[in-house]
């Protein structure tokens, strides 16, 4: 982009030019490949134009050529630091479309893992956000806990990041008592770790100077911009998909929706710190209440049959071959929009089904895409240094923004 032609008037009547500055797409503090075109008057941001699309993969179009089962690994790569939450959101959307429901144990496992993913995502957010603002120690401490959770993921499903663990109608593999014990030990230790992070930055004067009263967004503006998740709750709007449209077993558990007051960067940070504790408590409740039973729905038209029956039972063999080669070809026609609360906000899957085994259209409503549209509002009128703090505070990931 050429230098801006915008000019500003000095007090003595002379004119001065505005400088155009490219922030990104390779800037490490833009959390991916986000490019911001900033027009600067000295250190003040006059205009901020986000330029997205550097990570566009055309995944929505690609999904139209895949059957419902094959889409799961592609949803991993939307918000790749919270892959499990995306998988769960997609599976719930497809299950509602098919009219099937995962068994109770699978629901508990999913809820537990969705919250574990929230912790992972917020840990990475806190680490990198603090690193952007200038506190490096927090980053190292956050990654210590993140590693523990990723080891748990690896033991459960074989992958650390792109898990592909939930399945349509249930989950891939049952959790065993040993794994649950290890997770429980983690949840016992985790609240003290959160206190450690707070010791480092919560009252730190540099942190407060960088976050308090900066990037303020009022509740009304936040709603109008379509923000969701902790970014919205930081402005004091207690909207949470898990409370308002419960899925999984959220309605059977005790937890609260933390909200902020001022809607500045500090409040958004506080909301996420409180979510650490709430998620931790949800995981503990899930482990304590975990029922025994099956983990896959009894829906042979949509769920792969058991491996030990495939070669012994003709119907199971037919279902197996049809499901894999054609997809769930008896899917009902129609359309559905299902929203779930992923760590970054409201992730929606809008599926149009024409009755074949493949989605006719699958539209993804990613929270990051909407949050980036709020960046000009947050940055304009502020300082260049606060642009970085603002990017961090809305918690974006470009994998799901560009899709």
């Amino acid at each position: 982009m050429n230098n801006s032609d915008t000019t500003l008037q000095n007090d003595n009547g002379t004119k001065r030019k505005v400088m155009t500055l490219n922030l990104g797409p390779q800037h490490p503090a833009t959390h991916g490949v986000l490019r911001l075109v900033l027009e600067l008057d000295g250190e003040t941001v006059v205009k901020c134009t986000p330029d997205i699309g550097y990570l566009h993969r055309g995944v929505e179009k690609h999904i139209e050529h895949l059957n419902y089962l094959q889409v799961i690994p592609h949803t991993d790569r939307l918000d790749y630091i919270a892959a499990m939450a995306n998988n769960i959101g997609y599976c719930i959307a497809v299950e509602r479309l098919f009219g099937i429901e995962a068994p109770e144990r699978a629901q508990y496992i999913r809820t537990m893992l969705a919250e574990l993913t929230r912790i992972v995502s917020h840990l990475l957010w806190l680490g990198t956000h603090a690193l952007d603002i200038g506190a490096m120690t927090v980053f190292l401490y956050c990654f210590r806990e993140r590693e523990k959770i990723q080891v748990l993921y690896e033991k459960l499903c074989g992958a650390r990041l792109t898990v592909s663990y939930p399945r349509i109608g249930g989950v891939k593999r049952d959790v065993d008592a040993e794994w649950l014990d290890e997770l429980y030990r983690f949840t016992e230790e985790f609240p003290t770790r959160v206190e450690e992070y707070e010791t480092l930055i919560d009252q730190n004067r540099i942190w407060l100077k960088r976050t308090k009263g900066i990037g303020v967004i009022s509740a009304e503006e936040a709603i109008n911009l379509g923000l969701s998740g902790p970014t919205l709750r930081g402005s004091g709007v207690p909207y949470d998909v898990r409370k308002f449209m419960p899925y999984g077993v959220y309605d059977k558990l005790k937890w609260e929706v933390p909200t902020g007051v001022n809607g500045d960067i500090y409040d958004r940070y506080r909301v996420r710190m409180e979510e650490f504790r709430q998620s931790n408590s949800i995981i503990r409740q899930c482990i304590e209440k975990m029922p025994s039973g099956p983990i896959m729905a009894d829906a042979p038209k949509f769920v792969l049959p058991p491996k030990d029956k495939v070669l012994n039972n003709m119907e199971q063999l037919i279902h197996h071959f049809v499901l894999i080669t054609k997809g769930p070809a008896t899917a009902p026609q129609g359309e559905i929009y299902v929203a779930t609360e992923v760590p970054k906000g409201e992730l929606g899957f809008y599926i149009v089904s024409d009755g074949s085994g493949k989605p006719y259209r699958l539209r993804i409503r990613p929270p990051s895409f909407v949050h980036i549209s709020a960046l000009p509002k947050l940055c304009e009128g502020g300082l260049v240094a606060d642009v970085i703090a603002n990017i961090g505070s809305i918690d974006i990931v470009l994998g799901e923004c560009d899709r």
Partner: protein, 182 residues
């Protein structure tokens, strides 16, 4: 500003708290693993390099060339070429996995009715050309010999080749053959 806040501000109380924490942690054992020197064993079921199961009695690949893994693969990284042999038997001439395209989602393992393809926990492999990453049938069987086989593979198919009958309510409740007349 209250008197307490003023004292906190003058004496850098919160900074001292943070420094005390870092001091405490600098004296405790480090959690960093010195990776290339100290290696970790991935847990069983970790999704790494592909392998084809070798039939222990015949020494041949278990794969029958049905092509379900290739049909299930979200990135079309598996290609299978078959021909007709004696007694109209299907022979797998070529079985190739392009690991550069692979997502390591293990849907191929789920699709295979025979347990003929699997992902080994081996993840450290590199090469100088792209062609080295296209694994042919012989190399995939070699992977099986190197990283799987025996008790390790039995554990893998026991735990990670899902779903099993026990995962479904129906099979438990009404006996094994209730899948008829769906």
């Amino acid at each position: 500003m209250t008197f307490k806040e003023l004292i906190k501000k003058i004496f850098f109380i919160e900074i001292i708290g943070g420094l005390a924490l870092t001091l405490k942690h600098s004296l405790s054992p480090a959690v960093t693993r010195q990776y290339p020197e100290k290696r970790i064993t991935p847990p069983p079921g970790a999704r790494g390099l592909h392998a084809l199961t070798r039939n222990e009695s015949t020494g041949e690949a278990v794969c029958v060339g049905c092509g379900l893994c290739a049909a299930m693969c979200p990135t079309n990284c598996i290609s299978i070429y078959t021909s007709e042999g004696e007694d109209h038997k299907k022979i797998v001439d070529r079985y190739e996995v392009n690991t550069l395209r692979c997502l390591f989602c293990a849907l191929c393992v789920e699709a295979c009715p025979y347990g003929a393809v699997l992902l080994t926990p081996h993840f450290e492999y590199s090469g100088y050309s792209r062609s080295e990453f296209i694994y042919t049938k012989d190399r995939l069987l070699e992977n099986w010999d190197k990283y799987m086989g025996g008790a390790k593979s039995r554990e893998y198919f026991d735990k990670f080749w899902t779903p099993k009958s026990a995962d479904f309510a129906r099979v438990d409740a009404k006996g094994s053959e209730s899948g008829v007349n769906q």
